[in-house]
Symmetry: C2
Subunit: 209 residues, 2 copies
DNA sequence: AAACTGGTTTGATATATGTCAAGAAGCATG
DNA sequence: CATGCTTCTTGACATATATCAAACCAGTTT
């Protein structure tokens, strides 16, 4: 990965609600999030929107555009963020020379497929509170993997955005938060989350219908 | 693609309900469907299942396993089918030599990501009848792309499987079929479908909430 | 042909989530 | 510090879909 420097990596900064790319933009590069976080979303002609993911530092964004050379979704910064631009043709050339890089790239793409299928499971077969529990546990893990607290964190996204991601209305998200708080599973103060009972949240996930 | 023959491609036949691979199987190869069709599904520990896709001739299956070297989902034949086995390490080696193949492989993976995100949109923001309309239109297109009729075809999957794919119960799927039939959009006779009004189905998709 | 089987359709009812509306809390702005 | 603006919470009510149950149908076995 150190050879990636040869790519002549460009770093770019974004403020909250800046677009990293928009749907329809020509595809040139993948982006590695250096710091901060983004959401990706699809817009349907009739105005419907679906948040397809929340990405944080270390994650790669833009894979959807490889298929058509046009970005299929759009990426918006949720806070001040810095990304590294990885020109895709250079990445491909380099990965022809470095099998490890090639394999790494394939794994990243495959991981995205697995992630998406997990969300399909969530959207297709979980009820509202299970979805929120899964969401919180996923965030918790990802914060922990970055050396931050697994139990206390700030949400970077609104109730509306969480709802869009989870296939719920913002009121339903808000009620689920309140319910978890009443059950003493978490403390919520708007965007400040404290998980009081990780195991309890996990258990909530396994209650199938 | 003709050079793919060098891979020493193995063809394998499957009968209806045979497994092409199971969740947990070691990953060795991708599979190109030569004829027939498959479903892929994830099993959740608590018995919940989610069909993540229906694949037909010409489509590539198994991409989810690259990320961990273990198959994350399982693939089941919906009818008598033949697949070509594409050993993944050979595919990677060859794609290091043939940039066109490399690009092709990347596009296939990216297309799968885009497809999954489309399903997220469907599951997250469409109502039952819109989901079914989207499903039928998608099948129609894919049959047409294979030189078959866009308006008359046989479903290879049960109501239950359609429901699992669309995040609905089988009764809801059945009711939606009946409703489309009453609206003179389609003719349904169990698994025999005739689309009477493609534009009407399309219109049904654009009715957002 | 009769009985069986698994999948499908349809009806009656229950329930989770959406919708609408109002108020509260947080955050920027003058 | 007041003002406005957005986001969030909560309540009352509406509705889409799930659930439960029964009947139906097509294909297969006896």
């Amino acid at each position: 990965m150190q050879k990636l420097d040869e790519l002549g990596i460009l770093k770019r900064s974004f403020a909250r609600s800046d677009y990293l790319y928009r749907s329809g933009d020509k595809f040139r590069a993948l982006f590695a999030i250096h710091s901060g976080s983004f959401k990706t979303q699809i817009l349907h002609e009739d105005g419907r929107e679906q948040v397809t993911g929340f990405q944080m530092a270390g994650e790669i964004i833009g894979l959807d555009a490889i298929s058509t050379d046009i970005h299929a979704c759009e990426a918006v910064a949720l806070e001040s963020s810095v990304v590294c631009e990885l020109p895709f043709n250079k990445l491909e050339a380099l990965s022809r020379e470095i099998p490890k890089l090639q394999r790494h790239l394939h794994k990243i793409m495959s991981r995205e497929i697995v992630r998406d299928q997990g969300i399909m499971l969530l959207l297709g077969s979980m009820r509202a509170e299970e979805r929120l529990a899964a969401f919180l546990l996923n965030l918790s893990q990802r914060f922990a993997a970055r050396g931050m607290s697994a139990t206390q964190f700030q949400l970077r996204m609104s109730r509306h955005e969480i709802g869009s991601y989870l296939g719920l209305k913002l009121e339903t998200v808000s009620r689920a938060f309140s319910h978890f708080q009443n059950e003493r599973l978490i403390n919520v103060k708007v965007r400040t989350i404290e998980i009081l009972d990780l195991a309890g949240l996990q258990a909530c996930l396994n209650k199938s219908r």
